[in-house]
């Protein structure tokens, strides 16, 4: 009985790990349009699409490869967002890099 319970728990844990690791990493590059306590909205520069992504305690914000406070992330800032999820509509932000806006051509 004990062995069966351990095997079942192991299977559940393994399935969860596989499920988590099956997420893809996406990159959204553009301008921050809205920030809330648990979300970040970015207008993608290449096609103008707007993505609202979840943020959590693990989300980090950097500038020049250094970690900065989340309050540094402001509306209008140009950002490179790496986020994890199953699709572009369901993303959790891993890292937000605040970068200089591209040179206008």
């Amino acid at each position: 009985m004990k062995v069966t319970i351990i095997a079942a728990l192991s299977a559940i844990i393994m399935a969860s790990v596989v499920g988590l690791s099956a997420h893809d990493e996406y990159r959204i590059i553009g301008t921050v349009t809205k920030i809330s306590a648990a979300t970040l909205t970015v207008k993608q520069s290449k096609d103008g699409k707007v993505f609202t992504m979840k943020t959590d305690a693990n989300t980090i914000v950097t500038r020049d490869k250094k970690k900065v406070a989340r309050t540094e992330m402001k509306t209008g800032a140009y950002v490179v967002v790496d986020a994890l999820g199953d699709s572009l509509e369901d993303l959790v932000v891993l890292e937000v890099r605040i970068v200089p806006a591209p040179t206008a051509k």
Binding site: S21, Y26, P102
Partner: protein, 222 residues
């Protein structure tokens, strides 16, 4: 007391005999040349004797072709024959050009069997973050396991690559700055497919070309 015997010498042949002997030898040599040597060595048979004697076949032996196990659907895995790797069908050519937007990244990979080879060269209009790597096929719905072989910032590279395992093999390029960077890759090798994977995780298969097809290259933007 002994006396030395004088050595007996044959009388010298007359000039007529010498000429006659020489003529006989030359005629015999000529006959051998015309009937045996020329047909057997060079396939020249002026008297037809070579063909009757079966000697012309020596000069032109039939070509026996070793059939390769050709099949378009067969995996492009090499079979070792000394220093030669033999494949079931011909290699492919590919040229890929891309304009990589500011801070964006892209992957471009080929489906290769273990041991299959390709040669490549690529150049970029500015330095990029670069990782040449291979990906094992995903197992059980999990993430495919990747192995990096050259992870450096580069602006160009050229080399040959032998796939250490069956999977997809190629490049990750990331634009580190705010200006668009153009990248051009040219390869030739024993791969069966090419795929472009963009930063939005969309996958775009590319058409490969046989060596006898010349084309001018394509441009695709992420």
């Amino acid at each position: 007391m002994t006396t030395k015997a004088e050595p007996q010498t044959a009388p010298a042949p007359s000039l007529a005999t010498l000429a006659k002997t020489t003529a006989i030898v030359l005629a015999a040599a000529g006959l051998i040349l015309m009937t045996i040597i020329l047909p057997a060595e060079y396939g020249i048979d002026p008297l037809g004797a070579g063909e009757r004697l079966g000697l012309t076949a020596i000069a032109n032996p039939p070509v026996t072709i070793i059939e390769m196990p050709k099949s378009e659907g067969a995996p492009l895995a090499p079979t070792a024959n000394g220093p030669i790797g033999e494949y079931p069908h011909e290699f492919k050519l590919d040229t890929f050009e891309v304009a990589l937007g500011p801070y964006d990244y892209l992957e471009y990979k080929y489906s290769m069997e273990k041991g299959a080879t390709m040669v490549y060269s690529w150049t970029a209009s500015a330095g990029v973050h670069h990782d040449m790597h291979g990906e094992h096929p995903a197992v059980g719905g999990g993430e495919p396991e990747a192995e990096s072989f050259d992870k450096k910032d580069r602006q160009e590279a050229a080399g040959s690559y032998t796939a250490p395992f069956t999977g997809i093999h190629g490049w990750f390029w990331e634009n580190p700055g705010g200006d668009t960077i153009k990248i051009r890759l040219t390869t030739a090798g024993f791969y069966s497919g090419a795929i472009e994977i963009r930063s939005d995780r969309t996958r775009h298969p590319h058409t490969l070309h046989a060596p006898n097809v010349v084309r001018t290259g394509t441009v695709s933007a992420p």
